[in-house]
């Protein structure tokens, strides 16, 4: 329960920081803190909590005031990415977060294109996706570190080995 509260708090802080500090300071070079937080939390908690966290975080991100996109885009993408990160994250948390960081901008853009969002073309994507990926990759270790410090790890609590996935640990 406490872990859920901490996760919600972390998400909330990430959301507020994203719009009130990071986006205002770095403009188009801003990393996606919400995505990274969701991915990092998912690597600590496993696929199902990751999917739930991703859904909630994405929905909150969709509802965050300065928004003009269709409600649910972020929820869908982050839900899927949270699940994926939770599946892979036990063994290679950093790699999972990095993969999310790279994949997320493309997935969001693709979903936007499917929904008919204006302004998404191949040339724009060719410059915007690498830039967003690089920014996310730079920020990924920091966010992962911060989440590890504040959220704690279930591995220590479970007492299991480093390489045992969560769903197997439940069986063991």
């Amino acid at each position: 329960m406490a872990r859920n509260l901490v996760a919600a708090l972390l998400l909330f802080v990430a959301l507020v920081l994203q719009v009130s500090v990071v986006n205002r300071l770095l403009f188009s070079w801003a990393p996606d803190l919400v995505l990274l937080t969701v991915a990092a939390l998912a690597t600590r908690r496993g696929p199902v909590p990751g999917a739930v966290i991703g859904f909630c975080g994405g929905l909150a991100y969709d509802l965050l005031p300065p928004s003009n996109h269709t409600l649910g885009q972020y929820a869908l993408v982050l839900c899927f990415l949270g699940y994926a990160a939770g599946r892979v994250g036990d063994r290679l948390p950093l790699l999972a977060v990095a993969a999310c960081a790279i994949a997320a901008p493309g997935l969001l853009a693709g979903l936007g294109a499917l929904l008919g969002a204006p302004g998404i073309t191949w040339p724009v994507l060719a410059t915007a996706w690498p830039r967003a990926a690089i920014c996310n990759l730079v920020a990924a270790p920091l966010v992962l570190r911060a989440v590890k410090v504040t959220h704690g790890g279930h591995r220590r609590r479970a007492g299991g080995g480093e390489l045992v996935p969560s769903w197997r640990r439940g069986m063991a």
């Binding site: 959301l15 507020v16 696929p47 199902v48 909150a60 965050l64 005031p65 409600l71 899927f80 979903l111």
Partner: protein
């Protein structure tokens, strides 16, 4: 694989919800079916964002400052440069305007007296206390300047050229003790000699006016104009000189002595004019500024009126030619050979004051010893009174050879 199945179910459910949300929101378009949800979220997050922004404002400001630092430095340098340039420009403009005004007034005065003048700028000044008071102007023989020409400012007599170089000339000021000029009281025929007092004049501000006829009363506040020399060298007639400020009444003296304050402010000489051609007719008192009415107008207004009057007549200047003579040049040579103190002695002898030299020396100390407070007070009074004096009447009088200073 209980967990896996449950997990897949959960994931599928969540994804389905997300897709439904997307569909609903996308299809609703502007109807905003989910409007209340959005409103609630914006209320909650809006507050949080405001708080977050307030808390992180110092950080934001700091980062912004860091990001702008390289350009800010350049901007500051540029602005400083621009500031300095603009300040220069403003002060230069102010200076130019002041000079233009002075020049305007001087041309007005010259037009009033029908003098033909060459405007000049004072470039250097030399003051040896009690002996010498000269300025350098930036015109010379190339501009038609010859020695022994009258120099005037926008309000009155300044002095005369003592030496003319190719492109600069030396002017002995009226306050120079070695200089004296024939003068006449306004509105009458009483003649006298004006001479500088140097340091004895109280900071170089007063000049001495000796009336040759001791029986004629001199009133305080009467104005003095130049009388004019032979062939108008070195002094042209009719130039305002000063205003009588104090009269020494010494019974039994051959001449009568008064102290006058020159119209020209010798401490702030800037634009002057050299009279290269004298008027054909003595302008008498016409050049004097208008007599102030009992509720005295300010001096600036008088001067402006003066300038306006002068501008009307300014076009007539071109009628007169330059009167040149060998005589003054010879006089100048003699003076340059003789030196200033000798010239002063000679002049005193010519004016008949050598006989009363002792008395004269006895008179001078009071002027020097005069308390400064008293002098300052008088200066203030003088300024306030403007150029009070007698009304100008047009009594005609034939021109006469008078005691011009220095030579001939």
């Amino acid at each position: 694989m209980r967990d896996t199945r449950r997990a897949r179910l959960t994931l599928g459910l969540l994804l389905a919800v997300a897709l439904i949300l997307i569909t609903v929101d996308h299809r609703a378009g502007n109807d905003r079916v989910l409007g209340p949800v959005r409103d609630f979220a914006s209320a909650v997050f809006g507050k949080a964002e405001r708080v977050g922004a307030a808390v992180t404002r110092p950080i934001t400001g700091f980062v912004t400052m860091l990001r702008d630092a390289p350009t800010a430095r350049r901007v500051i340098t540029d602005l400083r440069k621009e500031n300095a340039r603009l300040r220069d420009e403003v002060s230069a403009n102010r200076l130019d305007r002041a000079r233009a005004e002075k020049l305007d007034r001087m041309l007005g005065l010259a037009g009033l007296g029908r003098y033909r003048i060459v405007p000049a700028q004072v470039v250097a000044r030399r003051t040896v206390a009690g002996f010498e008071d000269t300025v350098e102007i930036d015109v010379g023989t190339g501009d038609g300047i010859r020695p022994d020409m009258t120099v005037l400012s926008d309000v009155g007599l300044v002095g005369r050229i003592v030496q003319a170089g190719p492109d600069s000339s030396t002017v002995a000021l009226l306050t120079d003790p070695a200089l004296s000029a024939g003068a006449r009281l306004e509105g009458g025929n009483e003649l006298g000699v004006v001479s500088g007092l140097g340091e004895a004049g109280g900071g170089g501000n007063l000049i001495r006016f000796r009336l040759l006829d001791s029986t004629v009363p001199i009133g305080v506040g009467r104005r003095i104009v130049s009388f004019g020399s032979q062939q108008s060298k070195p002094y042209v007639p009719g130039v305002p000189i000063g205003i009588v400020e104090r009269v020494d009444n010494t019974p039994g003296e051959v001449t009568r002595t008064a102290y006058a304050r020159p119209f020209t402010d010798f401490s702030a000489l800037d634009v002057v004019g050299v009279v290269v051609a004298a008027p054909k007719r003595d302008p008498r008192d016409a050049v004097l500024p208008p007599v102030p009415k009992p509720p005295k107008p300010r001096p600036e207004e008088q001067r402006r009126g003066d300038a306006d009057r002068g501008r009307e007549r300014g076009s007539l200047e071109a009628e007169w030619g330059l009167v040149a003579g060998d005589d003054p040049r010879a006089a100048a040579e003699r003076r340059s050979r003789g030196g200033a103190p000798e010239a002063a002695q000679e002049r005193r002898g010519r004016n008949g004051t050598r006989a009363v030299g002792g008395e004269q020396h006895a008179q001078e100390p009071p002027a020097a010893r005069e308390p400064r407070a008293d002098r300052d007070q008088r200066a203030v009074h003088d300024q306030r009174a403007g150029r009070a004096g007698d009304s100008a009447d047009a009594a005609h009088e034939p021109r006469r050879h008078d005691g011009r200073g220095g030579g001939n």
